[in-house]
Symmetry: C2
């Protein structure tokens, strides 16, 4: 049975959605869940649900990291040996082998820093990367990094590509994932210095490298994995969300102001619109993995509801079952071995 | 009367949409148009239209720059003294005062390079920037750079901010444009090194500086101008276009597969959807200015139809009438003067 350590104090309206999501996931997927947070609050919340036969236990953590936790103060809290906040306590369960994966809907920065300091990175990985899936015309694309590192070097992009490729393969079930390099033009030669220097590394990586990609290729579903620095990836993610919101808002507005016929039309297409909305809904994917740290870490939106938490637990459990961590460790080791072989024979 | 030099060999299906757009613009806005391109082809095309009373003339240019023109070969063609391609001939009309603005729907890279070499940059401007408007919840936002320069320095972003601000003021009629700096987080301190180093320059610029912005603020309409490097801006633009396409395609698909009620609903909301589509339509804005070169240059999509060409001529004529070039020259000069004053008093 997979065991998930859930930061039950993560979501904006914690602990209600977090606990409800845990109950739903335990019931639906048969996972074992360790709820970490304020014991009294969690007991009260858990008592609202029927938990008969479910493997849910509570672990007390008296402190909570909030949106206010940042900078050096956060780093110090993240590193402290006997940290008592719910993120650190839950991550330590993963570190000590008492849980297979960590899930939180808390402060993304706090979760990344705490995971980085407590778990460390995998051998051969320099920087971890946050890797959500984007909805595409044909399914989904893993995009990384979308915010862990605003500044990266070409070899970091190679590591992101290896990790994203393994993730797409193991968790999303894609046989030989196509990997794209996000750029300002599809043609080779287009790009900033980072892209130009990363291109030969990706070409020689042994990955199924597609070449430069733009929004058209990523959102159009032509690649399964797209790599970029955390600055560009974050701008891309936020822009996608904003455009989707603008468009649906404007359609609603036009329908409401379009007279009786348009209003009736709006009612009739409601199920179709709900379907499209579900497709674009980040809650459907639950949470994004932080790849590269030495443990499975999934970080969701602060505004996660119980469905989002449930889905986050589902993807975390799938990643644990698929042994993503071992696969990434091996893929990185193989890449390093082939690089040193190249150097030796050069 | 404003005179526009139109590269009539620009659009993918040239010269038909280019010539028709010119005829429409001459009729609707009373502008004088110099059609530049293959004389025989343009005469034939123009003869299809009723041009009685319109100020349209043809200037022969026997060569055309295509999508194949790039790199050093392009730079050499762009610089050649007696260049005979339609872009160079049309741009020289602006340079020599025989036209007030240049418009093309041709190869963006070729247009930028040709304009850069033939017109030069304004005093105090180091790099030109391509500055389209993005549709937003409240109107539109000028975003620059979206592709002229994948690598920029902090002081380039300051220049972009000044130029974008003048453009928003003069052409889009916004009194004191709010300027945002695109970043991976709204809070000050978030960003890559470029953003962090550009922040103090923008704060001290005397512009109506808003701070860091994400997609939410840009697309949400909280700022009138948003500055970034051409790499990030291009990724943002392409992602916006791709997400808008995905969403409208998926809605169409869901409506078509949603049974009779959904299909009827789809018919009833057609006018509302057309309204939304028009709002998101890049053709409505016609073309983006290349700000910073010493002349008015507008570059549109290759797939421009006659409406897009007409609108491109309209915005170019508006910019000429509003004396955007003089205003930018003055704003940059003032910024340089205040900087050297600061240095002197420091």
């Amino acid at each position: 049975m997979v065991t998930i350590a859930l930061d039950a104090m993560g979501s904006d309206r914690h602990p209600a959605p977090d606990v409800e999501g845990a109950v739903l996931a335990a019931r639906e997927f048969g996972v074992h869940i360790k709820l970490v947070g304020d014991e009294t609050a969690l007991k009260t919340e858990l008592a609202r649900h029927n938990t008969a036969g479910l493997a849910i236990e509570i672990l007390h953590a008296p402190e909570v990291l909030t949106m206010e936790d940042k900078g050096l103060a956060l780093a110090l809290k993240a590193r402290r040996k006997n940290a008592k906040n719910s993120m650190a306590v839950a991550i330590d369960l993963v570190k000590n082998g008492q849980a297979d994966a960590f899930v939180t809907a808390g402060n993304t920065g706090a979760a990344m820093v705490t995971a980085y300091f407590r778990l460390g990175v995998l051998p051969g990985v320099d920087l971890p990367a946050l890797a959500p899936v984007f909805p595409t015309a044909t399914g989904s694309c893993v995009v990384l990094d979308i915010g862990a590192n605003p500044e990266v070097k070409p070899h970091n992009l190679l590591q992101f590509a290896i990790m994203g490729s393994v993730y797409a393969q193991k968790v999303r079930g894609i046989a030989n994932p196509k990997v794209g390099l996000i750029s300002n033009g599809e043609e080779e030669g287009k790009g900033n210095n980072l892209v130009k220097e990363a291109t030969p590394l990706l070409k020689e990586s042994g990955l199924n490298y597609y070449g430069n990609v733009e929004g058209k290729e990523v959102i159009g579903g032509l690649v399964d994995v797209a790599v970029t620095d955390g600055f560009t990836g974050n701008v891309m993610l936020k822009t996608s969300e904003a455009v989707a919101k603008l468009l649906t808002d404007k359609i609603k507005e036009a329908v409401m102001n379009g007279g009786l016929a348009a209003k009736l039309g709006g009612l009739l297409i409601k199920p179709a619109m709900a379907e499209v909305k579900a497709l674009m809904d980040p809650d459907a994917h639950g949470a994004a993995p932080l790849l590269g740290v030495n443990g499975l870490v999934f970080i969701g939106h602060g505004r996660s509801n119980s469905t989002a938490i449930k889905n986050a637990i589902r993807v975390a459990a799938e990643a644990a079952q698929a042994q993503v961590l071992t696969a990434i460790r091996e893929a990185i080791a193989n890449s390093l071995a082939s690089q040193s072989h190249d150097e030796a024979s050069a």
